[in-house]
């Protein structure tokens, strides 16, 4: 039965190969069926495995083959399916499948060749993501880690004619690579100190005993750098909003539901290490909450429907990191799950809107879509409520768990978290109100074009909406008389999870405060924007927010441009005049010397003989003083 494990990545890989190689000869429906079918097959297998894991515990790890095996340096190509990865498998394949189905319709206008390419990329992405979560060691995870980066690059730059998209793609890849550098160094560190990267071997007492506290702090910090890159945390988050250049389903799948959560998966996976590194935990918590707030403030003033969602994603990821930082690993994973549901939903909904509006993404030119697109509207609303953390929607439970854990660590973290939650409610409903309420503000042509999306798009929306509503059920806290199924399920993996020791009354209080604040923000936004949406250019502080705190400009001015200047300096000055100059200078010096030396050959016999006589004199003098010269030479050398 364990051979099923290999089937999971195999299906998407096969889908990728078929769609990639034969994209010109297949027709669109077939491509769609192959692409979606592969993921569906994986999903089914994942489901089977999930139940196996649920009933029998983690499956044994078996190496497919020896990947690198040199002397004491051994890395296997092995998969590990346990509680944590099986959850992620379900999320990836499940949501992946929905998005594939959605895409068959969304991308229908592309030429067959590009349609095939698109599905090949999507399949490849799922394959990479599966490697990432299924790998039994850090190296296989890294393979998936970089693989998803690659697919993200390919998909962001899917419309490669547009150079802005290409820049965004490149930016995403490079930013990810900065993170990957941290990841890699951590892996090297582990390999150097522990000698292995298998999870099973690393997270054992004797392995950990080989590590000093400094080692652990360094490794965890470096791993976190990796996570920050992939999961768009400060300071490496700027690529994610730009990544919205890709097709919208891609944004939903990669930049909201799955890939960006890889960092959370990785830290959750390494929770044993992280619990030993308090410095790192604090850093993670602080960066997490800072990211959550920063992104939320930016989202307040964005007018591009996808950008709002993108910053919202960054913000939610910040929450997840906050959870990881305060030790609420389950909470983080829980939030990953629920966030996957509602963020995928929101993105797909946004896609549906964009699809209807003929490619328009500016919410100022929308409005009143409620009546044109009922399904989209309704599901979008569900998503907004879920993300705003309204009970009993899924977002409430997961966010609440994180906030509770944060409170246990520090009330300040909790306070900031609640502030962020309120902002989330505010900007999400600003988005909702501006888009769906009021009256349509676009051109007549656009208005004429407005329509509800086809079934292939709406069915996934409905499914996701359903999940967004009920998804919280797996993690109902005990305070609300739940059993927190997820917590129990994951506890074999997340062994170092510390449940916050809060009284039920405290928990009720915290919930109430956050819900009330969020609700207030929600209502305020709804009230403010449903009638009089913000249409002009923002001014004052709003402008700063609209321009994302000028962080991109700052990076350009502080890092990118100096680096490019430096590279120019190296290229034009150091290389040309310096090093090559010396090399050529030697040649030129020889020529110069040649020009000078040939003048000795004056053509005059008298001079020649004079030189000869002088040379004889010199020879005699050298002979005469040879002892002195030798002494001198010995001193010099």
């Amino acid at each position: 039965m364990n051979n099923l494990v290999y089937l999971i990545p195999l299906f998407p890989l096969a889908g990728f190969l078929i769609n990639g190689l034969f994209r010109k000869s297949l027709n669109k429906p077939l491509i769609g069926i192959i692409g979606s079918g592969a993921i569906l097959a994986s999903f089914v297998v994942s489901l089977v495995l999930f139940f196996q894991v649920k009933s029998n515990g983690a499956l044994p790890v078996e190496a497919l083959f020896s990947f690198i095996n040199v002397h004491d340096f051994k890395i296997d190509f092995a998969f590990q399916v346990d509680q944590l990865s099986s959850i992620f498998l379900l999320i990836i394949t499940g949501i992946g499948f929905l998005i594939h189905v959605y895409s068959t319709s969304y991308m229908h206008d592309e030429p067959t060749e590009h349609f095939g390419r698109y599905f090949a990329y999507l399949n490849l992405f799922v394959f990479s993501m599966l490697l990432l979560v299924m790998g039994a060691n850090f190296v296989i995870m890294f393979i998936g880690w970089e693989g998803v980066g690659l697919c993200s690059y390919l998909l962001i730059g899917f419309w490669f004619k547009n150079n802005n998209y290409n820049y965004a793609a490149k930016k995403a890849f490079v930013m990810n690579r900065i993170g990957d550098l941290g990841f890699l160094l951590a892996v090297f560190w582990l390999l150097a100190k522990v000698g292995t990267v298998n999870y099973h071997d690393v997270f054992t007492a004797e392995s950990l005993a080989k590590l000093t506290p400094t080692d652990i702090t360094a490794i965890t910090l470096l791993l976190f750098v990796g996570a920050a890159g992939k999961s768009a945390q400060i300071p490496l988050y700027t690529w994610l909003p730009d990544a919205m250049a890709g097709p919208t389903p891609v944004s939903a799948l990669i930049h909201a539901a799955t890939m960006v959560t890889a960092g959370i998966y990785m830290i959750a996976r390494s929770n044993v290490l992280y619990s030993l590194a308090h410095v790192t935990q604090n850093v993670i918590a602080i960066i997490g909450i800072a990211t959550a707030l920063l992104a939320a403030t930016i989202a307040l003033k964005q007018n591009d429907i996808k950008k709002v969602l993108a910053y919202s994603t960054v913000s939610q990821l910040g929450y997840m990191f906050l959870g990881l930082g305060v030790g609420a690993y389950t909470g983080a994973v829980f939030h990953v799950m629920t966030h996957a549901f509602f963020k995928a939903l929101l993105f797909l909904g946004a896609g549906s809107v964009i699809h209807a509006a003929g490619g328009e993404q500016d919410i100022r030119k929308m409005g009143g879509l409620k009546k044109y697109m009922p399904y989209t509207h309704l599901t979008f609303l569900v998503g907004c409520i879920a993300i705003a953390g309204m009970p009993p929607f899924s977002g409430f439970f997961s966010k609440d768990e994180i906030l509770a854990a944060a409170y246990a660590r520090s009330p300040i973290l909790w306070g900031l978290g609640v502030l962020g939650a309120a902002m989330t409610a505010f900007y999400m409903f600003r988005l909702y109100a501006t888009t769906f309420l009021g009256s349509f503000r676009g051109t007549h042509d656009q208005e004429h074009h407005l329509h509800e999306s086809p079934a292939a798009m709406t069915i996934p929306l409905v499914v996701l909406a359903f999940l967004s509503v009920i998804g919280g059920a797996v993690g109902v806290p005990e305070a609300l008389h739940g059993h927190h199924e997820l917590h129990h399920f994951l506890s074999p993996v997340l062994t170092t999870e510390v449940a916050p020791e809060l009284g039920h009354s405290t928990e009720y209080g915290l919930m109430a405060v956050s819900v009330v604040l969020a609700l207030a923000a929600l209502l305020f936004a709804l009230n403010k924007f449903s009638k009089k949406p913000e249409l002009g250019e923002p001014t004052g502080f709003g402008k700063v927010l609209a321009n994302k705190w000028y962080i991109d400009e700052l990076y350009d001015a502080v890092i990118v441009n100096p680096l490019l200047k430096f590279a120019d300096f190296l290229k034009n000055v150091v290389e040309k005049s310096g090093i090559d100059g010396i090399v050529n200078g030697v040649g030129r010096f020889v020529q110069y010397l040649s020009r000078q030396l040939r003048l000795l050959q004056s053509g005059q016999v008298g001079n020649y003989i004079l030189f000869m006589v002088l040379s004889i004199v010199v020879l005699f003098l050298v002979f005469w003083n040879q002892a002195i010269i030798l002494q001198f030479l010995q001193k010099v050398f």
Binding site: R598, L599, Q601, G603, Q604, V605, G606, I609, V613
Partner: protein
């Protein structure tokens, strides 16, 4: 006579020859100075020959120790004569072409 006197004398003549070669421009005179150098060597050789002969002669008047020096001088004279013939031929040839015997005139070949 102390041998050092002879050495000094011929060194002196030799150096005068060299100075002559260096300071004059007339090819023939330069050539003559070279002959002067050769002659100083001849004198030196004869002196050395007699120097080595001295102790041997005292022991045995028929001894020919040192005679090789004088024979060498003989060969130098022979060679010098041959050289002069060739040298003068070259000088004459050059004079025919350029109507000059100035060494400084010879500077087509340089650098």
């Amino acid at each position: 006579m102390p041998i050092q006197y002879y050495i000094a004398l011929s060194v002196c003549l030799f150096c005068i020859g060299i100075v002559g070669v260096l300071t004059r421009r007339n090819v023939i005179i330069i050539f003559m100075c070279i002959e002067l150098m050769l002659n100083s060597v001849n004198l030196l050789l004869v002196a050395f020959s007699k120097m080595y002969n001295a102790p041997a002669f005292a022991a045995n008047p028929a001894s020919t120790v040192g005679i090789d020096g004088q024979l060498f001088v003989f060969f130098i004279m022979v060679v010098a004569a041959a050289e002069v013939s060739v040298g003068l031929a070259i000088i004459v040839m050059m004079y025919r072409n350029t109507h000059s015997i100035d060494v400084n005139f010879l500077n087509r070949l340089k650098n």
